[in-house]
């Protein structure tokens, strides 16, 4: 019975996530037609703006310019989260594509870095708390991710669940045929916490890249607002 409940919860959380993504996509689509609340002075966006944005997204340039301390934790966290997510795709493909097989060792290293980076960010926030803005939402999300990743790492290092049954369970969720839950309390906690987190993932993971692109376009445009081309 528990396996059916977890499978249904996983689907509900996933649908919730997709709905939020769809809502963001609609906003983005409308935004692309009406980019700013004032006349656009730069109608043709040069390629350099797109290149800068890609670099911004990959290397978090704007955070780097603002705070090197935060950048260190933030960049390591996001990049390791990305590779850990990629590593987890192995549970959702009956046979894994070659490119994802190649990335598995990177995902493993990222798995070690992920909780460390979160610990660093939480510690940094706590130390800097005086006269600073502390977002309780960010603390909760970071804390949950820390526990999820630490449990994942504990399973990898000390209490390995039966990976075959994990894969069968994961495939069963999207195949709409619930499979028995792997016999591991840690796995139950790991997936349970993740399902709680999924609908509440911060919206900036979708919105920030587009806002970043708009910010770079605006900075480029600033040269032409009142100056002759």
């Amino acid at each position: 019975m528990m396996n059916v409940m977890i499978s249904v919860a996983a689907l509900v959380a996933y649908v919730f996530f997709l709905v939020r993504f769809a809502r963001q996509s609609i906003i983005w689509f409308r935004a692309s037609r009406h980019a700013a609340a004032y006349p656009i002075f730069l109608t043709k966006v040069p390629a350099s703006v797109y290149i800068t944005t890609v670099l911004d997204i990959l290397f978090f340039r704007r955070i780097f310019n603002t705070s090197k301390l935060l950048w260190t934790g933030s960049w390591v966290f996001h990049i390791s989260f990305f590779f850990v997510t990629l590593r987890h795709t192995r549970y959702f493909f009956p046979s894994l594509p070659d490119c994802l097989i190649l990335l598995q060792p990177v995902g493993l290293i990222a798995g070690y870095l992920l909780p460390l980076s979160l610990l660093y960010i939480i510690a940094l926030r706590t130390v800097q708390k005086k006269d600073r803005y502390a977002s309780s939402y960010n603390y909760v999300i970071s804390g949950m991710l820390f526990f999820i990743s630490t449990i994942g790492l504990t399973m990898r290092m000390f209490f390995r669940p039966d990976l075959l049954s994990v894969k069968q369970f994961a495939l069963g969720i999207f195949g709409l045929s619930p499979q028995p839950l792997p016999d591991s309390m840690l796995f139950f906690l790991h997936i349970g916490l993740f399902l709680l987190l999924l609908p509440f993932l911060p919206p900036h993971i979708i919105a920030a890249p587009f806002v970043n692109l708009e910010a770079n376009r605006r900075m480029e445009e600033l040269r032409y607002v009142i100056h002759e081309r």
């Binding site: 803005y133 919105a207 910010a215 770079n216």
Partner: protein, 406 residues
């Protein structure tokens, strides 16, 4: 007042809604906020305002609100938010340093508009503004007949019609007379005939209405001014007030409904061009260390950063110093946001930060180029233990410039 249950996104562009979602709540922007610097209250900070506004959006336009009845928002929360969004100087420094690049200088006026539309704003200095403009043409309700007379240099001739026009602006003519006087003297020295509207015709540019979220009169004001300059045959409209220049460049085309029939130029751009074309020369030396303060709506707003420096460097003997935060990253003088009189304590404290830094850098003069900055920083120096002469850029330049006779 519009329906209280209407969505809080109605005044925002989709990109602005996305900007609200893009805030990572990292809080790094607080280090660059002048209001935070003097109040130390994160509860009125950018990420907190964005978080609260997101809650408002969710309550009235979220999925739950769409399927069930929208939630009534706590009145106290709405009032606290309104105060926070008006306590901001709208300088935009938080957006400039934002980890994702949110355009806060542009966002705050629209959040203020939402609060205005919901009848939550009761600052008399703002609510009286539309009537004051209707009555006297300026937001301060000063007499129309005193707009030009007290400061306009008698020897300067204004053409009836000309391709060059000068807009003095309300804050300058009533609150920073040496600045507008300097503008006119420099324009005269350049030698190209220039025209001006009459005291009755030169009404508010609309900036204080725009920034405070009262947009109803903007189209009318814009059309009146644009048509009046068009009738004068204007091809270039020169103005030295950063706020006026900002609204003219960014918003007038939208309120006018099409491209403006003339170009907008900031006074320092016009002077820098005149220097390049050798229409004027600076002969008188000034052996002083001066420090220039970039107005937020000029530097971050429209990107005029180099020209004021070119103008100042044209004066022989000057050593030009820079604030730690300058150019597009400059720190507000405290006067921004249109409610400096309500949050006067903040404004004075922020103004003193500029004075203190200028004194610490051993500058002989603090050079400003904004009438709001001019008024507030001068006020901040009263009863302050540190003193420095405060001079407007054109006030200074007018004392050193000479016309090149052709």
């Amino acid at each position: 007042m519009k329906d209280k249950k209407e969505s809080f996104t109605r005044n925002l562009t989709p990109m602005q809604v996305m900007e609200l979602d893009a805030c990572t709540q990292c809080g790094e922007c607080l280090q660059h906020c002048p209001v935070q610097e003097v109040t130390g209250r994160p509860s009125i900070s950018t990420p907190e305002k964005i978080r609260v506004f997101r809650e408002f959006i969710k309550a009235t336009g979220g999925l739950k609100a769409r399927f069930f009845n929208p939630k009534e928002i706590d009145k106290e929360l709405l009032q606290d938010f309104t105060k926070a969004v008006f306590e901001c100087t709208t300088c935009g420094a938080c957006g400039q340093k934002c980890a994702v690049g949110i355009n806060t200088q542009r966002l705050w006026p629209y959040l203020r508009k939402e609060m205005f539309d919901r009848g939550l704003v009761d600052y008399e200095i703002l609510t009286n503004m539309p009537d004051a403009i209707k009555k006297s043409g300026n937001p301060y309700n000063f007499p129309v007949e005193e707009r030009f007379k007290p400061w306009f240099p008698e020897q300067v001739k204004v053409a009836e019609k000309s391709e060059i026009a000068y807009y003095a602006g309300c804050s300058g003519v009533y609150g920073a007379k040496p600045m507008v006087r300097g503008d006119v003297l420099v324009l005269d020295a350049i030698g190209d005939p220039f025209t001006m509207l009459t005291e009755e015709e030169e009404v508010c540019c609309g900036f204080p209405l725009f920034i405070s979220g009262q947009h109803d009169m903007l189209e009318d004001l814009t059309k009146r001014l644009v048509e009046a300059y068009k009738a004068k045959g204007t091809k270039v409209l020169v103005c030295s007030c950063p706020c006026c220049v900002n609204v003219m460049t960014r918003d007038w085309p939208a309120f006018y409904g099409k491209e403006l029939p003339f170009k907008i130029r900031h006074m320092t751009q016009y002077v820098a061009d005149a220097l390049k074309q050798r229409k004027i020369m600076v002969k008188k030396e000034l052996k002083e260390r001066i420090i220039y303060h970039d107005p937020c709506y000029l530097s971050r707003g429209v990107g005029v950063i180099e020209e004021p420096r070119e103008v100042l460097r044209a004066i022989p003997g000057i050593e030009l110093l820079e604030f730690d935060r300058h150019g597009s990253e400059s720190r507000c003088c405290g006067a921004g946001g249109a409610v400096r009189k309500v949050f006067n304590e903040n404004a004075i404290a922020i103004g003193r930060l500029a004075i203190d830094e200028a004194v610490a850098k051993k500058a002989d003069k603090l050079i400003l180029s904004c009438p709001a900055c001019y008024g507030k920083v001068n006020e901040a120096m009263q009863d302050h233990d540190r003193k420095i002469p405060i001079v407007d850029i054109m006030e200074l330049f007018a004392q050193h410039v000479e016309r090149v006779e052709t």
